[in-house]
Amino acid sequence: MKSVWRPCATLVVILIWTTLFLSGCYDLREVNDMNIVTGIGLDEAENGMVRVTLQLVNPNNVPSAAGGQGSGRAFLTRTVEARSVEQAVNKFSEVVPHFLYLSHNTLVVFGDAYAKHGLSRAFDYFERSRFFRRNQLFVVAQGEARDVLAASTTPEPLNSFGVRFLVEQTARRARLLDSEQLSVLKAYLSVSKSPVMALIDVRDGRLRVAGAALFREGTMVGTLTPNEMEALSLLRSGRGEISVSIPCPTSAADTNTSLQIDSWRRNMRSSFVGQRLHLEIQLTVSGEIERLCPGGQLNKQVLRSVQREGEAIIQRRLRTVIEKLQSDGSDAGGFGQWMFQNHPGWWREHGADWSDIFQHADVSCAVQLQIRRAGLSSNAPEVMVNEVDKAPKAGRGEDIP
């Protein structure tokens, strides 16, 4: 038996060993044969075409300790027009040597014209393609996406990283909402269907965050300024750094009391007056005093007045943004989602008309501000100085009788 089995076993081992090499390394990709794509821009072109701009890393020009020279630009952009995004991406193989490597893409910029025509087509491509990571940042350009991708973001050498830093650090201060693909798609697929994306503007070749783009069912319907974005952030429970300025009673223009809001909680109640929806928003915010009016003394009365005025200002800002949302028909505050979760029976009957119901809803807000800490000193520095501490009058050029 042994003599029969041994050649068979040898043959099997040889066959298995040979199959190892039959793969021929078919999907082997060397790093020096690839173009690392870090940004994609989509713009509306003429005749229903789409203009796709790719931002490719030029590794030798990326300044690094590993030997990058950093003499030229760290990236280059290439543009192709086609009937669809996927056709355009495929077409790049005809214009750029080395194959495209999309897995490290970190930024997708939609031109505002493209965004106004609807992003559903692009969303499906980015969700379906297995090459893209789901944490890429979605932003809208105020103008053309290719201008955003070509702009300088010094001191960050790579434009897409620079844009990402800008958006992320702005979002940390609650002046933007999370604009990553995963969050945007989650908002898009929720019952409110109103994602919000960062809006980027190019001025004099430099980038700046211009606010946010509002969407309704994948179509851009309006924009919000960063200040309005702060109010929108307040409409969703969360944390951040929101600054509220309360003008001082004195007339000086740039003097005010500053509050730094760092956490807030939203409660809602709904009722119906006839067919009209009435939403009551109860917002509890807490924060610290960042600056007091010159000569201010933080006593009980002042504290209460700061509290009252702060509540009134926040309330005004909330009202403004809610009116804007209603006029644009974008439920970026997530009210629909709240109704869906809290009144599922009602939603089953009226959910289909939510956009219309929200636009005509009566939304009221009440704000309760809690001032937590007054900082290290309870008074403005001027209060600490009195006449006794001052130098003798003779020393200040006055005659002593």
Partner: protein, 528 residues
């Protein structure tokens, strides 16, 4: 019928072989090895001359002691001549009796250890062992005089297993000295040493060392059985013995724990293991062995047990790094670039611009160069070896990168792999890893991470299937034994390790009953 007869013949042959292996074939051709010692001096001298024909280092000397001729035989170099002169020749000259007989001479040499040798085989064995054979004309036995002084070095530092703390002594090439080093540490009659001769020509002494009221008796029996079945020409080192008594010869992983430190052997004996020692070998090995034991260093037992945790984890990491690091690098750079952080990918891409070789070949070239460098540094004389290392390091580290042949990242990876392999406490682990890493790199180059995972899976299957003298190699991790985990990734404090490893199935599982140290309530003045 034919088969039956053949079987008988075979059995007879195996018996004769076994007897040969045990006693050697040094006997004379005509009379046979077991024939008694000749009864005249001339016949004795002749028989020795026949047996030791063409052995220039054999020394024979006939001394006339007041009319009785005495023959002295020894091997040059193995005998301390001044001791021979002092303990044998001088007492012989002081015999005043005319024609002294054997018993008179024995009385005169009473300060020496004398043993009677009755057969020619015994006589030849004693000469070969480096003893002095003394034959008195007309006697029916020869005498062995213990004045052997085989050349050898004195006890020195353990060069291959240095530690910062603890004793520094290492074994030497003499079995007696090595056993004495163990006896110095275990001063108890329970430390047993069973010796037997192995090797048809070398007649080397192989000892099984164990503590009889700790070790599992079947383990000692198994060791006896494996050693008694050996039939070899020579057995001058432990490596041959290792290979011949192991459970699984076809594995690259060490199936025994080799050491040259007596303290480590003592630790092993106290765990219920046995040590096998060979005369002439400067190290010994212990069985059974487990994977985790091989990643423990003697230092772990001398330093604070809390600090040991980090070092042990580092060593476990070093083992897997030395095996997998180059292959992971190749897989990430060739197939799975999406798993790298973007800045790292950009940095690697910039390093790889213009490098002519694919990453897998680049890795293989670097690894081979590194191995060459290591071998060259190891084999050459120390003075030359250092210069080779410097030149090699310059070429591999700097010039190759500047010339654009390899990337700086690859140099770092290969160097880190080498460093990780040097961090392993047992050298027996270094070699398997440095060979297996080629296989992993090849598979990474062909299949990427999928290949590494598959081969890693096969490796783990192989590891868990191994047994060392019946004890699972991957124990106490697989099969899991919570109690034995006290001395694996962590080294529990001594007061907590009050029991010996359960997987060794010792007859005395209790190691001690020391309480956790600390002040008692009485000493702190608290009321009980």
């Amino acid at each position: 019928m034919f088969h039956k007869r053949k079987g008988k013949k075979m059995r007879h042959m195996s018996l004769s072989l076994e007897s040969n292996s045990q006693y050697g074939s040094l006997g004379g051709a005509e009379l046979g090895p077991d024939s008694p010692v000749p009864d005249t001096l001339s016949a004795m001298a002749q028989s020795i001359q026949e047996d030791w024909d063409r052995c220039a280092d054999l020394q024979t000397r006939i001394v006339d002691v007041r009319g009785t001729k005495v023959l002295l035989v020894w091997i040059r170099g193995s005998v301390n001549l001044s001791r021979l002169e002092l303990s044998v020749l001088t007492p012989l000259t002081e015999i005043y009796r005319e024609r002294p007989r054997l018993e008179h001479i024995q009385w005169a040499l009473r300060s020496c250890r004398l043993n009677p040798l009755r057969t020619r085989r015994e006589v030849n064995q004693m000469i070969a062992d480096g003893g002095v054979v003394l034959y008195v004309d007309g006697a029916s036995v020869a005498l062995s005089v213990d004045s052997g002084d085989a050349p050898g070095r004195s006890v020195d530092k353990a060069e291959n297993e240095p530690t910062l703390y603890g004793p520094q002594e290492g074994f030497v090439e003499s079995l007696d000295v090595n056993l004495a080093l163990l006896r110095k540490r275990i001063r108890s009659p329970h430390l047993k040493v069973e010796s037997r001769r192995v090797g048809e020509y070398s007649h080397s002494e192989v000892s099984i060392v164990y503590v009889d009221n700790i070790v599992k008796p079947q383990l000692v029996e198994e060791a006896r059985r494996r050693i008694s079945g050996l039939s070899v020409d020579t057995m001058s080192d432990i490596y041959k013995l290792m290979e011949l008594v192991t459970d699984v010869p076809k594995t690259v992983f060490p199936m025994v724990e080799e050491t040259e430190r007596p303290d480590r052997v003592v630790g092993g004996l106290m765990q219920g293991r046995i040590a096998l020692m060979v005369d002439g070998a400067p190290s010994c090995f212990m069985v059974p062995v487990q994977f985790v034991t091989l990643l423990a260093s003697a230092d772990d037992y001398y330093m604070n047990f809390i600090l040991t945790l980090f070092i042990r984890l580092l060593r476990h990491m070093a083992f897997w790094l030395s095996l997998l690091l180059p292959s992971l690098y190749v897989a990430l750079l060739t197939y799975n670039q999406d798993l790298m952080p973007t800045p790292l990918l950009i940095s690697v891409a910039s390093q790889h611009r213009g490098i002519p070789l694919p990453t897998v070949l680049e890795a293989l070239v670097m690894m081979v160069s590194f191995e060459l460098l290591r071998e060259a540094g190891l084999r050459l004389p120390r003075a030359v070896g250092q210069s080779v290392s410097i030149v090699g390091t310059l070429i591999i580290g700097d010039a190759a990168v500047r010339a654009g042949l390899v990337s700086a990242g690859m140099v770092i990876v290969v160097a880190a792999t080498g460093m990780a392999s040097f961090a392993l406490p047992v050298y027996g682990f270094v070699n398997p890893n440095r060979q297996l890493q080629y296989l992993f790199v090849l598979v990474a180059g062909l299949f990427g991470l999928v290949g590494i995972v598959t081969l890693g899976y096969l490796l783990v299957v192989h590891l868990v299937s191994l047994r060392s003298f019946g004890v699972p190699y991957m124990g106490p991790i697989a099969p899991l034994n919570f109690h034995d985990l006290k001395d694996t990734f962590v080294r529990a404090p001594w007061y907590a390790m009050d029991r010996r490893p359960e997987q060794m199935e010792t007859v005395n599982p209790r190691r001690g009953r020391t309480r956790r140290p600390g002040p008692t309530k009485q000493s702190t003045g608290e009321n009980p």
